[in-house]
Point group: C2
Chain length 397, copies 2
């Protein structure tokens, strides 16, 4: 008998994608499924971004520099300056999506058995990268009652051990939509300085803040050696399939270590680097328009949810996710039931059970994550389905 | 003091890319550098492959399926059939380059501390993926005197311990160009069955065999559970920058485990999947033309090398690499000297010291790897440089 590795066995299935077979079965029956389960926006990728690739005229699809094209990194310096981040082109490594930036951070900063503290609920794939790196995820719980604000310092300090090496935040947050305040960012700074930790800040949704502006981890003073930004163009320009992200650090020895991981995989994808570079030249009002669209979707979604009996959804300050508490027995059962046993006018809705976003077993059983990545007409229809489904669901409590 | 991980410190710098700063300095002085150090072909990517991307008309650059587009995987079934490999679309996972396929294999089959045996000299980045996965590379030495043939069974068996989980081969081989015979493949089959090991077969250069045809690991009978193919379109279609590869296995539980790693990083790059899918429709004579070009370059390179006094270069049967033994004291010093201190008509040549391809310290000190990825005019000029350099080099022995 030939066994796969313990690591391969421990690797979690994606909670966002595990219901996919039920959605496929529903579609085969002719049911229209509204996908609020996954952060794949319906927003069109800007034409000039796609055209930059379509009009490229090279003859050989070559490897790029392992850190990404120098021209792209130099233009990114300007982009980051526009969001108040001072960084040089040799402090940026272009990665294959934000995913690879996260993996590189775990690999280069933590050894097998080391611990990383993450406020839960958190982006589920952090679990996967942690298993790949042999790292232990230690959750610190945030709560729906206060909109998933950063847990107090004491909650972090209770979790810190000699093996703790880093804290991961996602700001604004996936899956909660929470936007950390300046005071909360200062609180994080205090913890990482006191306990000598890395701060990994996933800032994929930087531009999508509706009630205030983002305080980047790189806006914090005096923590240059500690801070890593994991970034991506996926959500910013609706370019998820490009698989272009970035790893940013001012810590030279960390940068050099990550470059060795980058060299091992040779280079990030060449086509989408062209797209990413072109995106920096988008007109200044691009984000205004996109943000206004997401904000109006958020307003609609949150209003519809809170109008349903027994449903509570805090108003998320950023990103394009919300977590709602539903009057149900079990979110996993309910989300599967929506696909297997429910339809309204031949339509249903796909949601992500929040259980997959918590590290602590048993939490999130009454919560679901909704991504407001569909247009308002579709969101309304999806909410019609959800409202009716909650009345019919046998496990309603 | 904030330390990077031990893993980050142990990560090897790419021996292929570490001389890059010296090459850049030479170019700044106005010296033309012939790059025989890296497998970046000058062969044009087929126009229809690039055009497929340029003429694509989607509006949203979406995530693909984590295993890659189904349409692409289905077409790949036909491609693999054409090279004698029976495989289904749900035994294929599209990866971000062959690099990711290798990493996935290490991650899903081996745990930290497990051992993988690799005939040396071997593709240096296997070291990097092994460090990332916490896996120990155990080299078994092949020798330039017999053209780097597969070491005898006994040499493998001496290296096998209870922690040995897999053997990696690259066939035809990078860096040696050696093409394993049917008898050697049967020998490998015997070892993996007897000791219950995985066989990872890197078949990036499958089409480029000049003195016979490749026996794929998936041509072997009775080892379906054991065999993994790591594949890539990089060299096949001169599409290195696309970052599209494939992980193939008929072992269902291994496939399922690798799918979880694939889901964690969401999807492979979308643009280049279009390119890869289009490439399958290239006319049948595409490889004839490309192979003939590489074969004529090989013939020229090997003839020029063996005509130099004190140089020995076995004739490689495939891929586009050769290893030559030179009358020098130290290949690392020599390769750096070529860039720093030598020029002929304002030209020099960049080679890869073979030391970086050996796992055993001290081996390969008189050997260099040459990639015949340049046209014959450039190869001739590069050989003129090398011939003269060997006469002038102070460390000649």
């Amino acid at each position: 008998m030939l066994n796969i590795s313990k690591r391969g066995q421990a690797m979690p299935a994606s909670p966002i994608r595990k219901l996919v077979p039920y959605a496929e079965a529903a579609k085969k029956k002719g049911t229209k499924v509204y996908h609020l389960n996954i952060g794949q926006p319906d927003i069109e990728t800007p034409k000039m971004v796609l055209d930059a690739v379509r009009h490229s005229d090279f003859k050989v699809l070559e490897y790029s520099h392992s850190a990404g094209n120098e021209s792209y990194r130099k233009k990114l310096v300007g982009y980051y300056k526009s969001v108040g981040i001072d960084i040089t082109s040799d402090q940026i490594i272009i990665t294959t999506g934000g995913s690879e930036a996260i993996l590189f951070g775990f690999m280069a900063c933590l050894d097998a058995g080391d611990e990383v503290i993450i406020p839960e609920p958190f982006y589920a794939n952090y679990n996967g990268f942690a298993v790949a790196a042999g790292v232990q995820v230690v959750p610190v719980t945030s709560h729906i009652e206060n909109g998933f604000a950063l847990p107090p310092i004491e909650a972090f300090e209770q979790k810190i051990t000699p093996r703790t090496k880093a804290i991961v935040i996602c700001n604004p947050n996936n899956p909660t939509g929470y936007l950390y305040s300046a005071a909360e960012m200062e609180q994080l700074k205090e913890i990482i300085l006191k306990h000598n930790l890395f701060l990994f800040s996933d800032e994929a949704y930087r531009e999508f803040c509706y009630d205030g502006t983002q305080v980047s981890a790189m806006h914090l003073k005096g923590v240059d050696e500690h801070v890593v930004i994991m970034d991506t163009i996926s959500k910013r320009y609706s370019a998820c399939g490009g698989r272009i992200g970035a790893f940013l650090t001012r810590n030279k020895s960390l940068y050099d270590a990550v470059m060795k991981f980058a060299q091992a995989r040779l280079s990030p994808p060449s086509f989408a680097q062209i797209a990413g570079e072109a995106a920096i030249d988008l007109p200044a009002d691009y984000f205004d328009t996109t943000k206004a669209e997401y904000q109006s979707r958020r307003d609609l979604l949150v209003q519809r949810l809170n109008a349903m009996e027994g449903v509570f959804c805090p108003n998320p300050g950023g990103a394009f996710y919300a977590i709602a508490k539903l009057p149900i027995d079990d979110a996993d059962v309910f989300c599967q039931w929506l696909l297997e046993h429910f339809s309204h006018d031949n339509q249903t809705v796909m949601l992500a059970p929040a259980t997959g976003f918590y590290g602590t077993p048993g939490l999130g059983k009454q919560e679901v994550r909704l991504a407001y990545v569909l247009n308002k007409g579709d969101i309304n229809k999806a909410m019609d389905c959800l409202e009716l489904a909650l009345k019919q669901y046998p496990g309603r409590i």
